[in-house]
């Protein structure tokens, strides 16, 4: 589907039948147990955390969760986490670190929730804290953008040793609609904005911001959940195998260097 425009790819990344985090969990690991709450304020259903077995070893799984029907969409807040969601993910990732369990994150959010309560409880601080702390966690971390990589709310669980994107996922500093509203001063240029923002996996790979692009089943992951999950599972097992061989100090230094090198400038 090379002929797809950037904005068509955005639509595909948001496809209502695309596999969501819990769909992947079902196929990727066994014995999944969800753990809830940030121990400070609440449990945020827009981020799901838990543990399972992948290919015989324990893994920690953290992902944004969207809802399929109206009721679920509201319950999951359209996959837009509040501070307690990020704080829960931090708590569970620290738990994984404590027991030397590698972390797999699944990114699929329009962005962190922009609301009064989220601001009151420190949305910005919750995201910032995750960014800082994930950079030093002493276990392998693999992040995969499975759908929408919506800005800081996506990156907040995306500081990892391997950052992957599915073929029809996107990763962007801002939603093309919002970019259109700000830079074109109307809502009509979302397609132009999508093009300009360079948010496809190929773009990010070219900019050296991601490691791998995982191919999707014909027409997109929405057509074959099990098939997509199978190939994702195989790729995660392979990457975990690679990362497990790296001494921890080297792993952390590698993670630092990886993000340290991101950027394009002249001097």
């Amino acid at each position: 589907m090379e002929h797809l425009s950037a904005y068509e790819k955005v639509q595909l990344a948001r496809h209502p039948q695309r596999p969501y985090f819990l769909d992947y969990v079902q196929h990727v690991c066994t014995d999944f147990v969800e753990v809830h709450g940030d121990r400070k304020f609440a449990d945020d259903p827009a981020i799901v955390c838990g543990f399972g077995f992948l290919d015989g070893r324990a893994v920690c799984l953290v992902g944004h969760q969207k809802g399929r029907d109206t009721k679920q969409k509201l319950y999951r807040n359209f996959g837009m986490p509040k501070p307690e969601g990020y704080r829960k993910s931090y708590r569970v990732m620290k738990l994984a670190e404590k027991f030397r369990i590698p972390i797999l994150t699944f990114i699929d959010t329009p962005g962190a929730y922009p609301g009064i309560d989220a601001e009151e409880r420190g949305q910005a601080e919750a995201i910032a804290f995750n960014l800082r702390e994930m950079s030093q966690m002493r276990v392998p971390i693999i992040a995969t953008v499975t759908g929408e990589g919506g800005s800081g709310g996506a990156l907040a669980i995306g500081v990892a040793d391997r950052v992957n994107m599915l073929e029809y996922s996107i990763y962007s500093v801002i939603a093309p609609e919002s970019c259109s509203a700000i830079l074109w001063r109307d809502q009509l240029h979302a397609a132009d904005a999508a093009e300009a923002l360079k948010l496809t996996p190929e773009d990010l790979k070219k900019l050296n911001l991601i490691d791998e692009i995982f191919p999707e089943p014909e027409g997109g992951a929405q057509n074959d959940h099990a098939g997509m999950a199978r190939s994702l599972r195989a790729a995660l097992i392979r990457q975990l195998g690679e990362l497990s061989k790296v001494p921890l100090d080297q792993l952390i230094e590698g993670r630092y260097s990886k993000f340290r090198a991101m950027g394009a400038f002249g001097e």
Binding site: P114, S151, S172, D192, A196, G263, F265, G266
Partner: protein, 280 residues
């Protein structure tokens, strides 16, 4: 009645006079709406002497305000390269060509090293006039280098934020600067060197959601807009008007997100005292 006589003065002002008049020696204060003599503002660090409204200051003014005389700027020549060849209604490349002359700096942050009341300091200050103080690759790189320089020279780090967030025109490259800077701050955090974050009006988006909120101390100037999402975005999402004072410094203090609200004049003594507590 002498003022009647004054009315009879020639109405035609000379070009020079008119220039001075239109240049404006007086402004109407945004805070208290009273007439304000510009000289009074300048003599008071751009803070209204009547109501305390904090006007924006340039990045250079900020470093002069915080650092002892003789500080050195670093990476002054670093510039953006338009890696995405981004064009909306205006091309990013053209903006990048015009802005340095217009604003007087090459990017939305300047970084420097020097002393603060004798304490060794690395400091960054954002320049709002440069694309709203937005954070692209250059801002990310300069601040990361500043943090690494603080580590190398065992200095405290002070970051003054004034930014609308990540720079759209550099796409995901801008986004990743949040992770890059935060990772550097993790190293600083582990090295027991103080990091003081100063949030000024406005600090929103990716800047708040990365280094601005990670200070050992988060200090805010009075009345500054500070948040993750901008107020307009929130209003559109929840479809209701926001309460008075929402996302202002006082609101953040009340909700436990900042350590103190510090008036501009008091910033340097406050930081100096904090450093005395932290490093002796």
């Amino acid at each position: 009645m002498t003022w009647f006589n004054r009315e009879k003065r020639p109405l035609e002002a000379t070009d020079e006079e008119r220039h001075v008049v239109t240049e404006g020696l007086w402004i109407k204060c945004i805070g208290c709406k009273e007439a304000l003599w510009k000289k009074d503002l300048e003599g008071n660090c751009q803070v209204c002497p009547k109501c305390g409204y904090h006007y924006k200051i340039t990045a250079h003014e900020r470093l002069n305000l915080l650092l002892d005389a003789g500080w050195q700027e670093h990476d002054a020549g670093m510039h953006a390269t338009d890696p995405l060849e981004f064009t909306a209604t205006k091309s990013y490349k053209v903006s990048l060509e015009q802005l340095p002359k217009k604003v007087g700096v090459n990017e939305a942050v300047i970084t420097g090293q020097g002393k603060l009341d004798g304490y060794p300091i690395v400091c960054s200050a954002m320049e709002y006039n440069f694309i709203g103080g937005s954070m692209g690759s250059v801002v990310g790189e300069k601040i990361t280098r500043a943090i690494e320089r603080a580590l190398d020279t065992r200095s405290a780090f002070v970051a003054v934020s004034c930014s609308g967030g990540a720079r759209m025109q550099e796409g995901a490259l801008s986004l990743m600067q949040m992770a890059k800077i935060s990772a550097a701050l993790a190293k600083l955090d582990k090295s027991n060197l103080p990091y003081i974050s100063v949030l000024t009006d406005p600090t929103t988006g990716g800047v708040t959601a990365s280094f601005a909120m990670l200070g050992d101390l988060n200090l805010a100037e009075p009345g500054a807009l500070i948040g993750f999402a901008g107020p307009r975005v929130i209003e559109q999402t929840i479809r209701q008007k926001l309460p008075e004072g929402f996302q202002r410094s006082e609101f953040l203090l009340q909700h436990g997100m900042i350590d103190a609200i510090v008036e501009r004049k008091e910033l340097k003594p406050f930081i100096s005292k904090s450093l005395k507590f932290f490093v002796g």
